[in-house]
């Protein structure tokens, strides 16, 4: 479980995160949603420690990151897996070397054992016979899946995904979503996903945090989100003509 309490962050005097508190539960896919520029990525990167927060607390299973020393923070980071927006695979390494990288760095396993684990992780994300390809030789969807495989290589307790569906077609997006959801349940991970994809919200939103202009505006799940009266959230959720139609149909259904 990850708990954030009253987090604040500003850049050059501009407040980007304003007093945000939330609890992200274990074994569930926790979504942070909001418009572009609302502060989602800053929030996610603040939780993983890429940005230093100015006030508040971040607790990983009760352990406060801000009071940890360098060694403790380093150990905590080995419990974290992160999938970046574009995969962030290392260009100079093959698919296999990319997934093996955290094991090479932090374990004393033999090569055979590491390759076995690599193959297990790649198999888990449905990637076969691509071990010796470079990131530039595989598709965007495959890159995301390899990034997920790398993120789970060290059996993380916490998984962070920054817009895992951006730039992907709807079918691949659904595959990625279900993969993350399955992995979260299978390994009992605390997963936090940053997204503005409404399909993801509907499919895997066990818990949803809506952020607008750096503030928490709403909290709930994927069934509550369609019946909320929060104006900002409704404007976000029902922005597309398709979702507007969906809302009208839902209203008609309720009236009947």
């Amino acid at each position: 479980m990850i708990e954030i309490k009253n987090i604040c962050k500003s850049f050059e005097g501009r407040d980007v995160l304003k007093d945000i508190s939330a609890v992200f539960e274990k074994g569930k896919t926790n979504l942070i949603i909001g418009q572009s520029g609302s502060g989602k990525t800053v929030l996610l990167k603040s939780i993983v420690g890429l940005f230093e927060i100015e006030c508040g607390e971040i607790l990983f299973d009760g352990r406060d990151v801000r009071t940890m020393d360098f060694k403790e923070q380093k150990l905590l980071r080995q419990e974290i897996g992160m999938v970046f927006q574009n995969g962030a695979l290392f260009d100079s390494l093959t698919v296999e070397e990319n997934v093996r990288f955290p094991m090479d760095m932090f374990t004393n396993k033999g090569l055979k054992e590491k390759i076995k684990r690599v193959n297990f992780c790649l198999d888990r994300v449905n990637i076969k016979e691509s071990n010796h390809l470079y990131p530039s030789e595989i598709s965007g969807g495959m890159r995301k899946r390899v990034a997920i495989a790398r993120a789970i290589a060290l059996n993380p307790k916490y998984l962070f995904c920054d817009e895992p569906n951006s730039g992907l077609d709807p079918v691949t997006s659904i595959l990625i979503d279900s993969l993350i959801k399955d992995i979260t349940a299978e390994f009992d991970i605390t997963t936090i996903i940053n997204t503005h994809d409404m399909n993801s919200v509907m499919e895997i939103g066990d818990k949803i945090l809506f952020i607008s202009e750096g503030q928490k505006c709403w909290e709930g799940n994927n069934t509550q989100i369609f019946s909320t009266r929060n104006k900002k959230l409704n404007a976000f959720v029902f922005a597309s003509p398709f979702s507007k139609k969906f809302r009208e149909l839902k209203k008609m259904e309720e009236d009947e």
Partner: protein
């Protein structure tokens, strides 16, 4: 203020770079890779440039310095000392600042903007040390080797063009390059190449590592890396010459 900020950041980065590596075996692999990429792959261009420069220096000496009052072996001697004291150490380092420096800055810059460095940090890897330390060791220790190759190739270039110009024979040229040899000149230049090698690896690494933005900024950082490293090489050439020749 800006300059002081960058100097401070540069030294803070160096502190991170020289922290104890996570795993020595991985760093050794990376070092071999960097030696090949930054050092071995530069030998060809260094050799070509040095052969031509040795030939050009010899021709310039032939046309401008030969007179009945001076012995002809001055051509070989002049070529040797020019190569050892300045060309193969300083000018070659300026060239390497262009080739190796821009490579380092653009590589690290690209890794930064594509979040590869962030992903290493999240894993708990000291990205500064993992990415930069092997480059520093590779460039610092390959620079003296490139210097020696450059001197040898430059002398060979002179050996070809000198006799071809008709003013100096092979024997006189060889007499020139073996006369009045001061071993300290070689030591002086090797010290310089160590310093220049350090600058060639660290200044572009700093500029690449802290790139913010996109492809345009990576290009800018790469250009800035070459310009700043070149200026620093010339500045330290001046300082080291003053210090080591006093």
């Amino acid at each position: 203020m800006g300059v002081l900020y960058h100097i401070g950041q540069y030294f803070l980065l160096l502190v991170r770079v020289f922290k104890k590596p996570e795993k020595n075996s991985i760093y050794r692999q990376q070092l071999v890779f960097e030696i090949e990429k930054l050092g071995i792959n530069s030998i060809g261009i260094v050799a070509i440039i040095s052969v031509f420069m040795g030939g050009i220096i010899t021709l310039q000496l032939t046309y401008n310095m030969v007179s009945p009052l001076m012995p002809n072996y001055i051509i070989g001697l002049g070529n040797r000392d020019t190569l050892i004291l300045e060309f193969s150490s300083t000018i070659l380092s300026l060239m390497l600042a262009g080739k190796v420096g821009s490579n380092i800055a653009s590589e690290l810059g690209s890794m930064r903007i594509t979040e590869q460095i962030d992903s290493m940090e999240i894993m708990g890897v000291n990205s500064a040390s993992y990415l930069i330390l092997p480059k520093i060791i590779a460039v610092v220790f390959m620079s003296p080797l490139l210097f020696i190759i450059s001197v040898a190739c430059g002398l060979f270039g002179g050996l070809i063009t000198g006799p071809l110009s008709g003013t100096v024979t092979v024997a006189t040229y060889i007499t020139g390059i073996t006369t009045l040899f001061v071993p300290y000149y070689v030591a002086f230049s090797i010290i310089k190449t160590f310093v220049f090698g350090f600058l060639i690896a660290t200044v572009p690494a700093y500029l690449g590592y802290y790139v913010q933005g996109g492809a345009l900024e990576v290009g800018r950082a790469s250009t800035k890396a070459v310009v700043n490293t070149s200026i620093l090489i010339l500045f330290f050439d001046l300082v080291l010459t003053q210090l080591l020749f006093k």
